[in-house]
Amino acid sequence: MTITALKQPDAASQRKRGFGYRAAKMLLTQRIALLGLLTVIVLAVMVSLNSAGALSGSYDADYLAAALISAVPLAMLGLAQLMVILSGRGGIDLSVGAIVSLCGIVFGYSYGVWDLGLFVSILLTAAAGALCGAVNGFLVAYIGFPPLIATLATFYAFKSLALIISGQKPISTVQIQEFFSAAQAVEIPLIGQNLPNIPLGIFTFLIPTAALVWVLLNRTTFGRRLFALGTNDVAAAWAGVDTRANRMSAYVISGLISGLVAIVAVAQFASARPDAGVSGNGMALPAITIAVLGGVAITGGIGRVSGILLATLLVVWLNAGILLAFAGNEGTQFQLLALGVLLIGASLLNNLTRKKFGVLH
């Protein structure tokens, strides 16, 4: 009736508007378009700085490929945050870093000390991660803890447990040291000769995880239910969605992914460190940052796998470039500046988007 009468002229007028308007709208409403553009800008600026000789090392394909090694844990934990933030009601997981620490020790013992073999060790570690996630999920979904609080509590608890069960010592037996090969850069078969070597973790961990999460979210009914309860918890319950079980599953998956990241971290560091995920600023805050930058709405129900992956690429390549652009201590300091500006800038843009175009994707 009336609504279509109001809408149709709008659709028509949109068709009439020029390419510029549509491009701007796409950049603002499609987070991945914006991230893609930013990544291209970063690459272009760095490459031109490079050819102008303003960088202290060459910003080339080899370097970009080598930098991808830090993309693996970052993007995977970003995906873990995607799952829980999507589930709504303030979903967030502050404990992922602590789970990485704890599960790293589990992997260190099972693979490096008890010698259970790679396959069993991976299963055990992933199960430990899922169990940690289940604790979070139970507190959030069944008891009704706000996620920020539940995961803050388990962050403290898991972090402490990792130190206690490891006796504060990293596990670095021969097996663990040799496990580094799992993180090494490899040549891509067939087409690899002309391309730089890519860190193995991209293929063994990141791509499978990303594919799995994508399929879960976009091709399974679980994904539908997750989006539903993230968008409107009450409506989901009335539509027959078991909100508690599904919300809990999101946290279990987040824990599971964190468990896998623990294996990546062990491989990358050639040792199982009880503070692997919490030292420095920890792994949780960067992961949340990646998720937000990747366009995941903190209120739930909106978010895409591609956004996480692109945001990771942007941050990792930008950071790598900054290290070459600023010598000395400034390098790492300017990384903080860049991240802060990106995060606030992207959020302000989101806001503009909502005002101008309504919904955001």
């Binding site: 709008d10 679980f222 409107n232 027959g240 309504g358």
Partner: protein
């Protein structure tokens, strides 16, 4: 009455407002005289709420002027509006769940001594206000979050009345109130108009306008059509103005199959809320459940659907005992429900229409359990959109961009993914315009005709009489009376409000 002798309290001229691409209102005019009740009517999405939000300072217009008592004013915030004496009861209660009723009523204009809130002075005033709206005194300190929706609406009204209003705006206040509560509201409104307050009254219950309104402005497609004296109008006339055509009353005769009941409730209890509920509904039958808010009528629907677990009694479904652990279990059995509160319980706002429909039965989306086949989803969704006449360019539109009536159809479509054996509809047409209401009623009739047992839970008297084969009246957690289709509104209302205590055989 258009040539009123006095200066209008408010004169809005040439008001337009766009939301992104949506033109919510276009060149609307509204002139309201002091001491009158001015009704604003129009289909869902006609722009009524938007127009009054502009007056209340909650939204800023793109174009237009506003005059207050003959002087031009600019209203850029709710503070500006409140300063002019504009008090508003919004369509959705705007309250603070953790604060007490007293604090809710005084929030924003506390009685103060210095910076400190004068609790004692507020306490003295609150009693008077609670008396006026008919809420018990003991609720003064209760957190608003503990109240029922209807009580919250009453608090909103008290809040607006407590302010020194020169204009009182009521946006569909009656939609969730019972008739008793509405009559309290009307007496308040009359008292205020007697003091010279101008009241703007928005409602879809056209019949009540004849009780309270002096003038009526009709809106359509974001425009104000014209303003009429209430004496010059009838319900049919208003409805015709609203939809811009002639409404034909059509009652399709329903054929009633006398077969084994789909659902039987035997002495169902639910804590203090329900006691000893007995009812039966058969395939093809439409059973109306009428009750005032708080009567327990809503709880019957929730119990059947598995949202609440009965504390006593038996439920039989297709002749077999049934325990519904939750809505999912009910749906697996073929019981679906359209919830009463569309925005809170029904709609996944920024998701697409397709998403909003298919969430009802994800198992249908692929032969493989747990899997989503996008093409199959599209086919199913498009089919339902067509069957229900949802007005949308495609199934990917977010449901938040739709009018109330269309959104309601989407929520109904969700229940029809597989033809339900038992369909429960709670307030199926609340806040839905006349045209859409018509279509929804026809749809319910069609479903019944195809063999679905239908349970309609409503507080809309006209509706329950119009579509039901039988009407059960619920009062204080029990079935108070049963009526056949020949009952009158008076019979039912009397039963619901306690005048009739004996059960009348049908």
């Amino acid at each position: 009455m258009s040539e009123h002798p006095t200066t209008p309290r408010i004169a809005m001229r040439g008001i337009s407002k766009n939301y992104g691409g949506v033109r919510a209102i276009r060149q609307a005019d509204l002139t309201v005289q002091p001491g009158t009740v001015h009704a604003l009517v129009g289909e869902n999405g006609a722009g009524k709420s938007t127009l009054i939000k502009i007056l209340a300072g909650a939204e800023q217009p793109d174009t237009g002027t506003i005059e207050f008592d003959g002087k031009p004013v600019t209203i850029t915030s709710t503070t500006d509006a409140i300063r002019l004496g504009v008090q508003t009861v919004y369509q959705e209660p705007q309250l603070f769940p953790d604060l007490s009723i007293t604090e809710n009523i005084f929030v924003g204009r506390e009685i103060k001594r210095g910076v400190r809130v004068d609790w004692a002075a507020q306490a003295a005033q609150i009693q008077e206000l609670l008396d006026m709206i008919g809420l018990p005194h003991k609720l003064a300190t209760a957190p608003v979050g503990d109240l029922s929706i209807a009580q919250q609406q009453q608090v909103s009204i008290a809040k607006a009345v407590a302010g020194d209003a020169s204009i009182l705006i009521l946006d569909e206040p009656s939609a969730i109130l019972t008739d008793a509560e509405i009559s309290v509201l009307f007496s308040i409104v009359r008292r205020l108009t007697a003091r010279g307050v101008a009241v703007i009254y928005i409602s879809h219950r056209l019949d009540e306008l004849f009780e309270i309104a002096d003038t009526v402005t009709v809106m359509r497609d974001g425009q104000t059509l014209d303003t009429y004296d209430i004496q010059d109008l009838t319900v049919t006339k208003i409805a015709e103005l609203m939809v811009g055509g002639i409404l034909t009353e059509q009652r399709e005769p329903r054929s009633f199959h006398n077969v084994a009941p789909t659902l039987e409730l035997h002495n169902i209890d639910l804590g203090q809320l329900l006691n000893g509920i007995n009812l039966q509904v058969r395939p093809g039958e439409i059973l109306g459940l009428y009750g005032l808010l708080g009567s327990g009528v809503a709880e019957i629907a929730e119990t059947v659907y598995g949202m609440k677990q009965p504390t006593g009694g038996r439920m039989l479904y297709q002749g077999k005992p049934m325990v519904n652990k939750g809505p999912a279990a009910a749906r697996r059995r073929g019981i679906t429900l359209v919830p009463a509160n569309r925005s809170a319980q029904g709609v996944f706002s920024f998701q697409s229409i397709g998403f909003n429909i298919s969430i009802g039965d994800l198992a249908k989306l692929s032969p493989l359990k747990g899997w989503v086949n996008k093409r199959r989803e599209r086919d199913i969704v498009l089919d339902l959109i067509k069957r229900l006449g949802v007005k949308t360019p495609n199934e990917n539109q977010p449901i938040s961009a739709m009018s109330g009536g269309n959104a309601q159809k989407v929520v109904i479509a969700r229940q029809l993914l597989s033809t339900p054996k038992l369909l429960v509809l709670a307030e199926p047409t609340q806040g839905v315009d006349v045209g859409a209401k018509e279509e929804i009623h026809r749809l319910i009739g069609q479903l019944a005709a195809s063999g679905t047992a239908v349970l309609v839970v409503t507080t809309d008297l006209a509706e329950v009489l119009r579509i039901s084969d039988r009407v059960l009246v619920v009062r204080e957690g029990s079935i108070a009376a049963e009526f056949g289709p020949d009952a009158t509104q008076v019979d039912i209302l009397a039963a619901a409000s306690g005048a009739v205590t004996t059960r009348k055989a049908s």
